[in-house]
Symmetry: C2
Subunit: 343 residues, 2 copies
DNA sequence: TTGTATGCGTTATCAG
DNA sequence: CTGATAACGCATACAA
C-alpha cells in the first residue's frame, strides 16, 4: 500500500524516467516520435508513481473543458427518460456531462447558463423542450458562439442542428386506429402551447380526423397540461358534457394516465365504455391496468443522436445532415377497443 | 452588439481599469482592502469587457474542481427521485454536480471512478445504493482520501458520514396497520440482498408480525426484485399457493405496482379481496387505481441532507453529527381494506 | 490600500 | 526522435 502525500506531476514522471516532460506528454497523449524504449520507461514511471494528468491544467492550456451541458426543465417522465440515456452516454464517453436545470425566461436560469458558457465550463450545449422557448438560447449563440444541438426545438427555422421525433405522424396513426375501431367522438387532450410536440400532435390528430371526414370542432380539443393532473381534469370535464366522447386521446402518457384514473374514478370501464390513448410510451404506461395504448416516442434514440451530434461537431467532424427526424411507432395495449355507442 | 474575438482575461481588465491584476482579483473575490473608488472602476471595466474568470485557471491554481460527483446505479423510480433533487441542488449551489453511473464490481465503473478522483475532476463523492456494496468505494478512501457521504449505506459500521431513512420503523408501521385491519396472512415481497433497505424493511415486517404473535414462517417472505416484474411474478406465485395471502406488502412501490397489476390480471379485486402495500411513496403510486398505500421514504430530504453534508465537509465546517436517520411516514390510500377471509 | 513576482501542471513551439 | 522554454489565466505570499 503506497501512501500519496501529493499527487505526482508530469515533472516527477520525467525525472524518474530520465527524460523531459515533453516526452512524457507524448506518451500520455499517444503521440508519435517516441522510441519504444523510452515509451516503456515512461510508462513504467507512470505506473510506479501512480500518475494521472491534472485535468484542470490540461483544460486550461487547451482552452476546452471536455464538458457538455444538457439543459433540462423540471422533472417528470420525459426528463427521467432523457437523463437515463444521458448518463449512459456519459458513462461511455470521455466528456463529462453536466446536467443543468433551465426554466425559460427565469433570470436565474439565464445567469447560470451565461456564466457556464462565459467561464468556459462547458464546450457545448444540448437543449430539451421547453428550455428553448425563450429566445435566450439562440441569442446566446450570436454573442458567444458555442456549439448547440436542440432536442425537439420549439422553432425549427434556421440551420441549428436538432433531433426530433415524428409527432405529427404518430398522432395520425393513433387517431386513425381509433377511427378504424369505429370511434368518431374522439377527444384530444392537448398540452401547453410552448411545446413543439404538443402542437404537432394536435395537428396530426386534426389531419387524421379531417382525412376521414369526421365532423369535429375545437370543442373536442381540450387544452390541459402534459401531466397527470392535466389529463385527469380534462377528462372529468369531457365526461361531464352532454355529448360525451367514446375515446380520449391524450397528447402525452402522463395525461393519459390521468385520464385513465379519472374514468376509473367515475366508474367508467376502460376500454369497454371509453377507449384511452396516450403518447410517448413512458416507462410506466405498460404497468397500469389496462395498459395504455400509445405511440412510442423514441426518446432514447433522440437523445443519443443529439448528444453524438454535438460530440461530432466538437470533434470537428464534417457532417452531412444535422437535422434529424426519428420515426414513431404505434404501441397497442389494453386501453382501446371497438366503439361502444351507448355511453 | 459587441463581438468577442478572444475572451477577456484578468489582465485586460487590469489594464482598462488602470490597476494591477491583484486588485482585480480582489474585486472578483470580494476581498477587503479596496477603495470603493477603485472597486467601481474595476467593476466597470469588467462589465465593459464582458469579463468572466476562466474556471480552469482558477481550478488549477486552487487545486480544487468545485465539482462533486453522485454515483447512481442504473435507472428507475428511485434514481429519478434522487436526480430531480440533485439537479435542484446543483441549480442553487456553486458546485457543479457530476452524475455518474456506477455498477458495483464492474471493472469499467471502478476505472471511471478512479480516474475521476485521480485526475482531480471531483472534490467529493456521494454514493446511492447499491453503489457501495462492493468494497471498492471504501478502499478508495484509504488510498486517495476524498470526502465521501453515503446515502443508505450497505454497511453502517465505521464513521463514514451517511444519511438514511428509517426503513425498519416504516415497515413496522405498515405491517401494524394491516394487522389492525385483521390481516394475518400477510405476504412480504423482499428485494435483493445487496440493498440495505431491503433487509431493514424485512426486519420491520418480521418484528411487527412477532410482536402481534402472528404465526409465520419464511414461506411468507418471497424474494424478488425491487421492480415491477419482481412484484408481478412474486404475487403470481403467492396467489397460486393453496394458502393464499389476504394482504401483500411489497418492499418497494415498484414491486407494489407489479403486485397490483398481477392481481387485476387475475381478476382479484383490490382492496376488497386482497390488500396491497408498497414502500417508498414513488411519484406514481398515487396515480394508479386504486392508489397504493405505502410508506413515504423521504428521498428528497435524504438527498438534500447528504449533499449539503458533503458540501459542508468540503467547506471545512465543523459538524456535530454526520450520521443522520430521517423518519418515515405512513401514507394510506385505496389499496388496503379490512380483511376478507373468503379468498 | 495596492502591486510584483511566482507557481499551479499541462500542452505547444521550435530548435537541437 | 528529444528537450528547453514559453504560454494558459488566475491566486497568493510578500513587498511597498
Amino acid at each position: 500500500m503506497k501512501k500519496i502525500n501529493k499527487a505526482a506531476t508530469i515533472k516527477d514522471v520525467a525525472r524518474l524516467a530520465g527524460c523531459s516532460i515533453k516526452t512524457v506528454s507524448r506518451v500520455i497523449n499517444d503521440e508519435p516520435y517516441v522510441t519504444d524504449e523510452t515509451r516503456l520507461k515512461v510508462q513504467k514511471a507512470i505506473k510506479l508513481l501512480d500518475y494521472a494528468p491534472n485535468i484542470s491544467a490540461r483544460r486550461l492550456v487547451q482552452q476546452r473543458s471536455y464538458v457538455i451541458c444538457i439543459l433540462l426543465h423540471s422533472a417528470g417522465f420525459y426528463q427521467s427518460a432523457v437523463l437515463s440515456k444521458v448518463l449512459e452516454i456519459g458513462y461511455e464517453q470521455n466528456y463529462d456531462i453536466l446536467i443543468q436545470n433551465y426554466y425559460p425566461s427565469h433570470a436565474k436560469s439565464k445567469k447560470k447558463l451565461t456564466s457556464l458558457i462565459h467561464e468556459r465550463r462547458i464546450d457545448g450545449l444540448v437543449t430539451t423542450p421547453p428550455c428553448d422557448v425563450d429566445e435566450f438560447i439562440s441569442e446566446l449563440l450570436t454573442t458567444s458562439s458555442i456549439p448547440l444541438v436542440q432536442i425537439t426545438p420549439f422553432n425549427r427555422s434556421g440551420n441549428i442542428p436538432f433531433v426530433i421525433g415524428d409527432d405529427y405522424q404518430g398522432a395520425m396513426m393513433v387517431t386513425d386506429r381509433l377511427i378504424e375501431l369505429g370511434h368518431e367522438r374522439i377527444c384530444f387532450l392537448s398540452g401547453p402551447r410552448n411545446h413543439r410536440t404538443s402542437i404537432d400532435r394536435q395537428y396530426g390528430y386534426r389531419a387524421a380526423m379531417e382525412s376521414h371526414q369526421i365532423k369535429m370542432d375545437d370543442s373536442w380539443i381540450l387544452e390541459s397540461e402534459f401531466n397527470f393532473d392535466g389529463g385527469y381534469t380534462a377528462t372529468k370535464i369531457a365526461m361531464s358534457r352532454s355529448v360525451k366522447p367514446t375515446a380520449i386521446f391524450a397528447g402525452s402518457d402522463e395525461a393519459g394516465l390521468g385520464a385513465l384514473y379519472a374514468l376509473q374514478e367515475l366508474g367508467i370501464k376502460v376500454p369497454e365504455q371509453v377507449s384511452v390513448c396516450g403518447f410517448d410510451d413512458a416507462a410506466h404506461s405498460k404497468h397500469t391496468w389496462p395498459g395504455l395504448t400509445t405511440v412510442h416516442h423514441p426518446i432514447d434514440q433522440i437523445v443519443e443522436k443529439a448528444t453524438y451530434l454535438l460530440l461530432d461537431i466538437l470533434d470537428g467532424k464534417q457532417l452531412e445532415s444535422v437535422q434529424v427526424v426519428v420515426p414513431s411507432r404505434l404501441v397497442i395495449r389494453g386501453s382501446i377497443a371497438e366503439v361502444n355507442k351507448n355511453i
